[in-house]
Subunit: 212 residues, 2 copies
DNA sequence: GTCTATAGCTTGATAGAC
DNA sequence: GTCTATCAAGCTATAGAC
């Protein structure tokens, strides 16, 4: 057995409990909130005991922080790995939104927790800079729209307001995705609504109102 | 002193502590969440002691439920007392949204709590049927839009999708109103964005795509 | 109606054996 | 690394005097 195999085994053994705790904790934090998800529940559902949790993560906050860091990093990946297709502005918006929507759907528990902490009371959870992701997303959409206006694809207008229209439906779709209720806005419907909005942005301004 | 004066005095004395508790509790529930806002904090901030709270409301749940009932009734009032102006569909949408926006801004603490409970974990709070207000609002907007399409004010389209566009920006505006952060969408901006959307709904469909 | 005092439970966290 | 056993602090709620 080589040195690396030894370390790999050790890491995999160590990781077994660790991963288990992380998975269970995310699910419980998302379902019950940071404060209401107790350490006891987490360790019981993980099949370990409390001291193990404290061994790995120091305390409840440490466990929470590690979850935040890991999953926030994934958001950055999604936000940064887009827009290398040189298609129309409309397609760029639809593509970016679709990627984010899929990511939210795939990491639903984390986003449920994120929304809870961001829009609700902090519940004693340590601070996490969620607002920057809101801003990044807003800026990304706005940039595409401004480029679309410059290129003549969209009619002239207030890019900030146009961005808000896009963000609004995306926000609705995300929130529905996060709730367990029956959804009226799945991936396809969201794309259709984006089609509606972006086609309206394309239509030329009413000539009767322009003085030329 | 008449009988009525006696009762009025009794009620006003009784109401003093009662009202105080209700006001303080709403604020604390909104800021810290149902679970994290403790009975101790509420009674301390109210200037009374725990047994008084239990005397009036039975328990923490009873206090919470009374807050919900009172403020939910006010939402119904707003949703039902509109649309008696026979103006354009555009003005009807703007008017309804404005009324709701103002109501949210005026009863901010309650809506903060409502959003927290609705989108986040229940935190052990007793169930309250918030989803019906979502549905009522959705239906009200959709109805106006359908009427606008019938009357020819709006171009033909999917009323459900058009409603989602409206609801999206309203949702964004409400959520910004509820957060303490710097807002980019106040009452005026919301009305401007609605102008943008509703004007786009008005524009005639592109003839080049119709086969006539 | 309002208080003092306290019961009874759950919580996050740890000491110390293995 | 993982356990058993346990602690101190916080919580909701109540008994009983006034």
């Amino acid at each position: 057995m080589t040195m690396e195999q030894v370390m790999a085994k050790k890491r995999s053994l160590e990781s077994d409990s660790r991963r288990q705790i992380l998975d269970v904790a995310l699910k419980l934090f998302a379902r019950k909130g940071y404060a209401a998800a107790t350490v006891r529940e987490i360790v019981d559902a993980s099949g370990i005991t409390a001291p193990s949790l404290y061994y790995y993560f120091g305390n409840k906050e440490g466990l929470y922080m590690e979850l935040m860091q890991t999953h926030c990093a994934r958001i950055d990946q999604v936000l940064e790995s887009h827009m290398h297709t040189s298609s129309s502005a409309k397609e760029k918006v639809k593509d970016l939104v679709d990627k984010i929507f899929l990511h939210v759907a795939n990491d639903r528990d984390f986003f449920r927790l994120m929304f809870t902490i961001y829009y609700g009371p902090s519940q004693g959870a340590p601070y996490c800079d969620f607002i920057s992701y809101h801003a990044k997303f807003h800026a990304a959409i706005k940039k595409i729209i401004e480029e679309g206006i410059s290129s003549g694809e969209f009619q002239t207008g207030n890019p900030g307001h146009m961005t808000l229209v896009i963000r609004g439906v995306v926000q609705l779709a995300m929130e529905e995705q996060i709730k367990e209720d029956r959804k009226i806005m799945d991936r396809q419907v969201l794309q259709r609504v984006l089609d509606l909005i972006l086609e309206l942005f394309k239509q030329p301004p009413d000539d009767s109102k322009e003085g030329r």
